[in-house]
Symmetry: C2
Subunit: 341 residues, 2 copies
DNA sequence: TTGTAAGCGTTATCAA
DNA sequence: TTGATAACGCTTACAA
C-alpha cells in the first residue's frame, strides 16, 4: 500500500555508489563518468525514485519559495497580477506561497510569520496594510507593488504620467471642464501621483478643472449610489459644459456610463469618460470605454526580475546587498476607445 | 549583518534544557512545569527565536502544504475560487502552493511533479487537462472542482439543476422558443449536465427549444463575432417568437445584451436572457442580467473540508482510505434580475 | 517531568 | 572521479 519512499540511500545501495555520488548525479552530473551516469539513471527508473526537496532545503537552506501577500482576488488588477507573477515560474523556477490578506494588520503579520517559518527567500507584497519599514525588517528581499514603498524596493505604474495622459486626452476631446474623481489618497500611495499629474497638466494648459476627492464606498451598491449622486451634482454644476471625467478605475467608469445610458439611452456628446486599469470591464461595457491601462504583465515581470536578482545576490559568498531600495516605474498605456474623441 | 539563526540547540544551551524539552514546549507545552515553560518563553524572547518549519517537516513528514492547479485567473470563476480556497487557511491551517496551469498536459505534469517533490499532503485540481486516472495515481488525496472526476473525489455545481432552473425561468417568462447556447461538451465534463437539465425540462413541459452547440472562440473578439452571427441566425429563424436565451456564462450574456442594446437601444421585449456564474459582469452590465449562480465559497469550503478529512485520515496510525471517490454536489442559485420576467 | 540518541533526505567538506 | 562523514533543525522512541 504505502510503500516507503525511495531515497538516495536506496539508490546508493542499489548501484553500489555512495549517497554523495547520487547527489552529484543531480547537482553536477558531468562530474561522473558517462557510464556511471547511465547506471544511476537506470536505477532511478528501476526503483521509481521521486525527488524530495525537503531534505535538500534543510541541507542547503535554499527553499526556492517566494511569498505573496495580496489584498484580494476579486479585483481584476490583483488577480491578473497574481496570474502574471505565477507565470514567471517558467523563467525563474521560484514557487509561490500565496496568502490573500484580509487587510487586518495583525492577521497579515501572522501570514508573514508563517511565510518566514518556511524560509521563503523573498516576498512580493501588494497589500498596503503593513508599513514598508516593518517589511524591510523581515531580513529577506521584498518587492512592493502599488503600495507605500519608502523602505522597500518596488514596481509601480507611472501614475503621474497616467494623470498627464488622462488630462491630455480629455483636452484633445475639447472638454470645457475636466473632472477627476478619486479617493483622498495619502501622498505615500503611488496612485496619488495620478491626481498630481492631472492637476499639473490642467494648470499648465490653463484648463478649467474640478478635483473631486471622495470616498465612493466599498460595495457595488455604495459605488452606484455615490456615483449617481456625483452625476447629479455635476449636471447641476456644469449644465452647459462638455464634461471630461477621469474616473478612478474602470469599474466606476462603467457604473457612470450605465447611469448615463439609463438616463439618455446613449453616451451624450456632452460627456467624455476615461477610466483606469484597462480591466476587462472596460472592453465589455455597453460602449467600450477609454482607459489608462496598467501594464500588469510588465509590472509582474519587473517585480520578479528585481526580486530574483536580490535573492540570487544573497546566495553569493560575498553578497553585496543594495544600499538603497530600488523603485521601478512602468509607463501606463493610453487606450482610446469610444468614450473619448 | 546576517546573524545566524537561533535553533533549538541554542535555546537548549541558553536554558540548560535539552532540545527535546524545547521541542515539547512547542508541541505539548503542558508536559512541562509552568515554571519551565516561562523560562523557555523568556529565552525565546531573549534570543529572538524564529520558528523554522523545514526541520519539522523533515522529521515529521507533515508539510501542511496543499497544491493547487488552476487553469487561469482571468476568468472570475477561477480567481474567486482561488480566493475562497486561500481563505480556508484560517480554518484548516494548510498553506497553498499555487500553479496557474497553461493547459498543456506535459507542463501541468511538471507542475505536479514539482508539487509532489515538496511533499504536498493533498491537491485541489481545477484544471481539466490531466485525466483523473492519472491524478488518482499520485498517491495523495486529490479533489477536483468542475472537471472530469471519475477516479478522484470532487465538488461540483449541480449543473443539471442549473439547466432545469434556467428552462423553468424562461418558461415563466413565457418565451415562445427556449434556446440554449453552449460548447459541445463531452459527457464527462460536469457542465454538460446543464444541457441535459435544460433539454429534459423543455421536453417535460413540451416547450419548443433549440440547442445550439457551438464553439464561440477563445478571445473576446472571437466571442463577439460568434455571438453577433448567432444573433443574426436567431432573428432569421425566430422572427416573431419571444426568444428565451440561456447562454453558457455571464460574459457571453453580456456581449449579447450589448449587441441588442446597440441594435435596439434597449433589451427588446422579444428577448429574455439568462447567464451562468453570477460573476460581477452580470451585475455591472448595462442592465443587470439574470443568471444561474455558482456558490463559489460553498464549493471551495466543501472541497477543503473533503480534502482535509482525507489528509487527516492519512495521518492516523491505521488509516482507512475511502473505497470509492466521493462526489459532492452544490446546488446553484437562481438569480432573477432585469433580463427575465 | 526531562534527557539521550537516532533518525528524516539531502548537501557540503574533506580526503582519497 | 568518488567516498566518508558531518551537518541542516526538528521529532520521536525509549530511558531515566
Amino acid at each position: 500500500m504505502t510503500k516507503k519512499k525511495v531515497t538516495f540511500a536506496d539508490i546508493a545501495a542499489y548501484t553500489n555508489f555512495s549517497k554523495t555520488t547520487i547527489s552529484r548525479y543531480f547537482n553536477d552530473p558531468d562530474s561522473l563518468t558517462l557510464e556511471n551516469q547511465q547506471k544511476i539513471a537506470q536505477a532511478l527508473v528501476d526503483l521509481d525514485y521521486k525527488e524530495n526537496k525537503i531534505g535538500r532545503i534543510l541541507a542547503s537552506g535554499k527553499t526556492e519559495f517566494v511569498g505573496i501577500l495580496i489584498p484580494n482576488l476579486y479585483m481584476h488588477f490583483y488577480s491578473e497580477m497574481l496570474n502574471q507573477i505565477l507565470s514567471t515560474y517558467e523563467t525563474y523556477g521560484y514557487k509561490f506561497l500565496v496568502f490573500a490578506g484580509n487587510s487586518k494588520a495583525d492577521v497579515e503579520r501572522k501570514y508573514i510569520k508563517e511565510l518566514l517559518a518556511y524560509n521563503i527567500e523573498g516576498m512580493i507584497v501588494l497589500s498596503p496594510t503593513i508599513p514598508s519599514s516593518e517589511l524591510a525588517a523581515c531580513g529577506i528581499p521584498v518587492v512592493g507593488i502599488e503600495r507605500e514603498d519608502q523602505y522597500i524596493c518596488s514596481v509601480n505604474t507611472d501614475n503621474y504620467l497616467g494623470g498627464v495622459q488622462a488630462a491630455s486626452l480629455l483636452k484633445e476631446s475639447s472638454c470645457g471642464i475636466l473632472i477627476h474623481v478619486n479617493a483622498d489618497l495619502p501622498d505615500t500611495a503611488p496612485a496619488s501621483g495620478r491626481i498630481r499629474g492631472f492637476v499639473d497638466t490642467c494648470e499648465k494648459f490653463h484648463l478649467p478643472y474640478d478635483l473631486i476627492l471622495t470616498d465612493l464606498g466599498n460595495t457595488f451598491e455604495e459605488n452606484r449610489a455615490g456615483i449617481l449622486k456625483l452625476l447629479e451634482t455635476l449636471e447641476q454644476k456644469y449644465p452647459n459644459e462638455k464634461k471630461g471625467i477621469f474616473m478612478p478605475n474602470d469599474t466606476h467608469t462603467n457604473v457612470l456610463l450605465n447611469l448615463l445610458f439609463q438616463k439618455y439611452g446613449k453616451l451624450p456628446e456632452s460627456y467624455r469618460l476615461l477610466g483606469f486599469d484597462n480591466s476587462p470591464i472596460s472592453r465589455e461595457a455597453v460602449i467600450p470605454t477609454s482607459t489608462v491601462g496598467q501594464q500588469i504583465s510588465v509590472i509582474a515581470g519587473t517585480a520578479m526580475e528585481l526580486l530574483s536578482s536580490m535573492m540570487e545576490e544573497r546566495k553569493k559568498r560575498r553578497p553585496e546587498p543594495l544600499k538603497e531600495p530600488v523603485h521601478k516605474i512602468i509607463p501606463p498605456e493610453l487606450i482610446r476607445r469610444q468614450t473619448t474623441d
